[in-house]
Structure formats: C-alpha cells, structure tokens
C-alpha cells in the first residue's frame, strides 16, 4: 500500500491489525478489564504515557481502539476517543477545555439533550452558553465574549434541519482563537468531513447512522488536530503541565492529538464513561457498510420527499434537499451526496392528526432514536424536545404538528403503503 486508502476501504479495514495468534478476520471482542504487563518497566511506561498500550479497559481497550482508529480515519482526524454514549462524548469534549467561568456559543438548533446539557447542567459547573440561530452568522460573532472558549453546533440541525455554514463559523472561531466543535451525527463522515471546512473537533452519537442497527449505544469525540492551542493562553488544560502525569504538557508532547489525549487522560480516567468492547464490536459491524447504507437512506429519503410533497394531507415538508428550504444552497455545498435522511413534516389537522398518524403506522417505529436501519417516527414537541421551554422549542423550529421521520432502509413502496394507513386514520379523525 503506497497511497491513501479510500472511504469504503477504510470503513472495512482501518484500525484493525489482524489477530496474530489465531488469524481472526473479524475484530475480536477483548472482553477484559485489564492486561498483563510483560515487565515492570513496560507497566510504568504505559502509565506514564511514554508508550502506547493498554492498562485498564475504562481508559483503553483493543476492540474499542479499532473503532476509534476507524472513525479517526473516516473523519481524517488525528485521534478519536469513544465513549459510552454521544452525550458522554459531548460532556467529555466540553469539559476537557472548559471550566468554571467559561462560555460557549452554540446553535439553537440542536438535539434536545445537547440544549439541556448547556442550558441546565453545565451552568452548575460554571459554564454558560449563549444560543444563536444557526442561520445568523453575525449572531455567532457578536455572541463571542472574552471568556468564550468554544463554538458548538450541529451541521444538520435537529429537528429543523437548518444547515450550519461551517466555513463561516470556523472563520469566526479562528479569528477569536476559539475552537469549533461540530456534532456530526446526522451527516456522518460519508456525507461531510467537517474538518475539510475548518471545524476543529467532531462529536458523534455512533448509536445512530454510524452503527445503523440500533443495537448499541455509543459516542465518539474526534480531534481534527488542526487547532493551534499554543496560540493563546486560554486553554491551560492543553498547554500547561498536567500534574497527574508528571506534569506532562500535552500540547508539546502530543501536538495534533493533544485534545484527544486530554480526554483520554482525564475524562476516561477520572470519570470513566467508557464504551464496552461488545458495543464497539457491534458498531464496527455497522460501520463496515456505512456508505452502502447511507446511499440507500438518501435514495429512500428522496422518494419519500416526493411522496410527502405531493400528499394532500401533508401541510408542509421540510428537508434541505428541497429548493424551498432556506438552507438548500448550504446543503448543496457541504452535503453534495445528500442532506441526510431526516424529514420533518406537518400533518393536516394539527397535533391530533399527527398523533393519529403516528399511532396508525405499523412498519415505521414510534420511538426516540434516529439513524436506525428501520424507519422511525416521533413527535418531538412531546418527546425528544419536551424538556425545553416554549421559547427554545420555537427557536429550534419545532411546531406542535411536527412529525420527525428518520428514513430507514426498507423497500420504499412498503414505507409509503404504511404511511397511507397512517394518513387514512388521520383523515377519519378529521371526519369525526
């Protein structure tokens, strides 16, 4: 091999060294808490970050390591750290560089868990957030304060589906020496590599499209390696000596992977939201077919957009692929293969009609997840975003009649037939 491997090849092979003892082709599940050291010198070297290696599975594990290296490869990031969930990844990433008195500028259009974390939980640790409409670029610039240490957003906003202008936001971050972290769950690296457009770190709930099967919860933080931590004194957790490891200076020693190393050395060690080897194995099986699945997600999405846009009982349809969407041009720029497989739409008749629709489809599953191989639907206002107030709901673009659809991989004719049943029930409700 003498050149960079392409995406589909990396999806199958990156990070894995074929098991030397038995020749196992699949990545083995190293279901172990700990690892036997060959000698005391090796043990102390691993503990002192002098060499790679495994000591305890809360911090690193060989199966999880393959997943981390595979995702780093797919994202073109310098390093990745897997966590027990996407929310754990977000929390670990933020707290690796922010603390008491620090500030975040974040998009209003995000997963409700992200909003709740920044609005309710992080303030208890002295970290505050200013939320900005993702389409308001000047708003991001003016929201920057002297204590701002992070800009955060989702490329494809949830559930309003506005597209974040990555290059514009990244420039604001660069102008102020503030890193730009993107929750890339909805796009996956197959649809967009955010580092190519100036993002500095990405977060994924790998539970979603990356895994694709809905069988394992997991998260990952990917370090783009492209933020100059040393250009400012705002990030002492990266650039100042870290006492637990003999005063190591992560920026000096690890350079492009300093941020990921901080998460590994601190969050995984002191907090411990580690991914299980079994989940890593399951998620690896999903990633092997990421591009194939995404292509099918996208083709089914386009077919359903056509179906919904022409349905008399649909009051509105929202997806960045539609020319009417306010982010259509940004979607074409950043997501040329397709703008993801989430569609939101309104059912004529409002909240009760929407409820009737959801309760009368059978193939589509009514549950709180996205990115499964199976088609999923939910009513965000009463579920995923129910813990945020009315103003935040409005800012996130959520209406009472909104149904969020995560398009699956089924035969699209079967999905539309299922939806026909849902619409029939909604129509009958209206007649009563």
């Amino acid at each position: 091999m003498s050149r960079f491997l392409n995406f589909d090849t990396l999806s199958l092979h990156a990070g894995q060294t074929v098991d030397a003892e038995h020749g196992a082709r699949a990545t083995p599940i190293y279901q172990t808490t700990s690892y036997v050291f060959p000698d005391t010198d090796t043990a102390s070297s691993i503990f002192n970050l002098e060499r790679g290696g495994h000591a305890y599975s809360r911090i690193t594990n060989p199966t999880v390591g393959v997943l981390e290296q595979r995702i780093a490869a797919l994202e073109d990031g310098s390093a990745a750290v897997c966590t027990s969930s996407g929310m754990a990844a977000t929390f670990c990433a933020i707290t690796a560089i922010l603390g008491q008195g620090d500030h975040i500028v974040a998009s209003t259009q995000m997963y409700g868990g992200n909003i709740s974390l920044m609005k309710n939980t992080l303030p208890r640790f002295g970290i505050t957030t200013t939320f900005v409409d993702p389409t308001d670029i000047d708003g991001f610039r003016t929201a920057i304060q002297a204590n701002t240490k992070l800009i955060y957003g989702e490329l494809i906003g949830n559930p309003g589906l506005d597209i974040l202008d990555l290059e514009a936001i990244a420039k604001i971050g660069a102008d102020h020496h503030v890193p730009f972290m993107v929750d890339a769950t909805f796009n996956t690296p197959y649809l967009c590599r955010c580092f190519d457009y100036g993002a500095n770190m990405t977060i994924h709930s790998v539970t979603k499209w990356m895994g694709g099967h809905g069988a394992a919860i997991g998260g990952v933080v990917v370090d783009g390696g492209n933020f100059d931590w040393g250009a400012t004194d705002k990030y002492p957790t990266i650039t100042e000596p870290y006492a637990p490891f003999s005063g190591i200076n992560l920026w000096e020693e690890f350079g492009p992977s300093a941020f990921a190393t901080r998460i590994r050395a601190e969050a995984m060690r002191d907090i411990g939201p580690s991914m299980s080897p079994m989940n890593a194995f399951l998620l690896l099986q999903g990633i092997e077919t990421l591009s194939l699945r995404m292509d099918r997600h996208l083709s089914n999405t386009m077919a359903l957009l056509d179906y919904l846009s022409n349905h008399k009982q649909v009051s509105w349809v929202n997806h960045p692929s539609l020319p009417s969407h306010s982010s259509h041009d940004l979607a074409r720029k950043y997501l040329p293969k397709g703008a993801g497989s989430i569609i939101s739409f309104g059912v004529e008749g409002g909240r009760e009609a929407g409820k009737a629709f959801i309760e009368n489809v059978e193939l589509a599953s009514h549950l709180a997840n996205v990115g499964d191989a199976k088609t999923l639907i939910i009513h965000p206002a009463t579920t995923t975003h129910s813990r945020i107030d009315a103003a935040a709901l409005s800012a996130a673009g959520i209406t009472e009649d909104m149904v969020r659809l995560s398009v699956g991989l089924e035969d699209v004719a079967d999905i539309t037939a299922d939806f026909d049943n849902g619409f029939r029930a909604a129509r009958q409700l209206a007649k009563q």
Binding site: A14, V81, R264
Partner: protein
C-alpha cells in the same frame, strides 16, 4: 521549551522533564517537513530514565522561528549552536531520514560532542524524486500525500498505530500541512543537494547504530547498505515489517533497540 539560538526562538520538547545538562543528552532529529511530535513515543521514555532529552523543531518547522535552513551543512551547524547554547554534554544523537544526514555532518564535524549516533531509516544520501520536488514547490498538498503514502507502510495506511485511538497518517498530515509551503520544499532540496555522506560517515569514530525498515520505500535497502558499509563497525538491526516512518510504525521495537544501544554506550547514572 523555547530558547534562543542566534537571535531566533527554537522550540524543543524535553520529554516531560526539565533539560538538565548535568545528565547525558539524547537529541532526537526529525525528518523532512515533520516536527518534534514524530519522536513522542521515544523522547519521554529517555527523559524518565535520567537523560536530558531534547527534540527540537528545525527552524521554520511548527514552533521554531524560520526561515527553514537550506542545506544539511547549515542544519549541522545549527545543531552545534543548540548544543553549545544549552551546554549539552555526552550527546547521543537519534536521527530519522533527513535528520540522519544532519547527524552524519554533525558527528563528523564535531566528534568531541558526540557519544553515540543512531541512524533510523536512512542512506548516505537522500536523492529526491523530481516529481516530489515539483509537487513540494507547486502543490504542497500533493507532496504531503506522496510523502505519507510512500513513508508509511501498510500499518500506517490502515490507520493502525501504537497509541489507541490515534491515526499516525492523519497526525503526520496535520504536522506536514502546517510546515508547507516553504519548510517541506526547502528540506527536500537540502536533502537532494547533500553529497558529503560518504566522507562524513568515514570520519565518525563514536559507536553507531543503524536501524533499518524492511519495507522502506524512501530509504531503500541499497541506500541503507551504503550507509552501513561506510560507517565504522555499526550495530545493525532490521525491523522487517516497518515502512520508512519506523519510529512511529514500530515504536516498541525501535525504542528497545535504542535503549539497549544508548544505555550501554552512553549510560546515565
């Protein structure tokens, strides 16, 4: 740490311990377009075993002031300026690729400073492919891709690596991108122009070690054989499965070989 050499700021990592010139020094030299992070899986090990470790960024690379130096001879003189500035004693040089050419020049010109030299993945000379030189001048991104494509063996291309979660190739690309457009092309031209390897090798009298990468496409076996032939009684080891970026691709084997050689020939108390 940062220190001043000839009115310019030089950055060097010291492996996590303050540089103490009362201890024998191990100075690591990186290759074309790279920086101190290349030696991260070796420097800290020696620093915590009672050596004064120094891994400088060449001028114009990552954290050191520019401009990049235009000849191997100038790099050797700059290295001597560092050794003098820090009063580093009993120096073990550990060099990779282009760094090996600098080590050849330095050890032959300033033999009194050097206790050992370890050459990793190098020949006596480093003639640079014209396509690569042109790319470095006109299309740095393509040049970086070529160097990392040829430089890393299959383990690198598959994003395997000794540090869980880290991609050697992506990390290297980030460093090299940061050192374009000027540093990389200047380095490559300096390598291409260097022709004093044979004479320099013959003058080196201290213990020397050559660590060969069995799948090296940038310093192939013939070039390495020439180096071995012209050095005085080198200790030679081959890491069969590694590509040119051996210190990153096979760090445990490389570190073990360096440890055995340096501990015995330049012991720390």
């Amino acid at each position: 740490m940062y220190f001043d050499v000839n009115g310019k700021q030089v950055f060097a990592t010291t492996g996590g311990k303050p540089f103490d010139n009362g201890k024998p020094a191990v100075i690591f030299l990186h290759g074309s377009g790279l920086d101190h992070t290349f030696w991260g899986l070796h420097s800290r090990f020696f620093a915590f075993r009672n050596y004064a470790v120094l891994v400088p960024d060449l001028p114009g690379h990552t954290h050191s002031d520019g401009p990049a130096l235009t000849s191997i001879e100038a790099m050797a003189d700059w290295l001597d300026d560092i050794v003098v500035a820090l009063d580093a004693r009993n120096v073990s040089l550990v060099a990779h690729s282009q760094g090996c050419l600098t080590a050849l020049e330095f050890a032959s010109r300033y033999p009194e400073r050097v206790r050992t030299v370890s050459f990793v993945a190098s020949g006596l000379a480093t003639p640079v492919n014209k396509v690569l030189l042109d790319a470095a001048e006109n299309d740095p991104e393509a040049a970086v891709a070529m160097m990392l494509g040829w430089g890393f063996g299959s383990a690198g291309q598959l994003h395997q690596g000794p540090i869980p979660g880290n991609s050697m190739v992506a990390g290297g690309r980030t460093v090299m991108r940061g050192n374009t457009p000027t540093a990389l092309v200047t380095d490559l031209k300096a390598c291409n122009a260097y022709g004093n390897g044979r004479q320099a090798a013959a003058k080196i009298t201290c213990p020397v070690q050559v660590i060969v990468a069995g799948k090296d496409r940038m310093a192939p076996a013939k070039a390495t054989a020439e180096l071995i032939e012209h050095l005085n009684n080198p200790v030679v080891a081959v890491i069969a499965q590694s590509g040119h970026m051996l210190p990153q691709e096979a760090p445990d084997q490389c570190r073990s070989l360096l440890k055995t050689f340096i501990f015995s020939n330049n012991p720390a108390t």
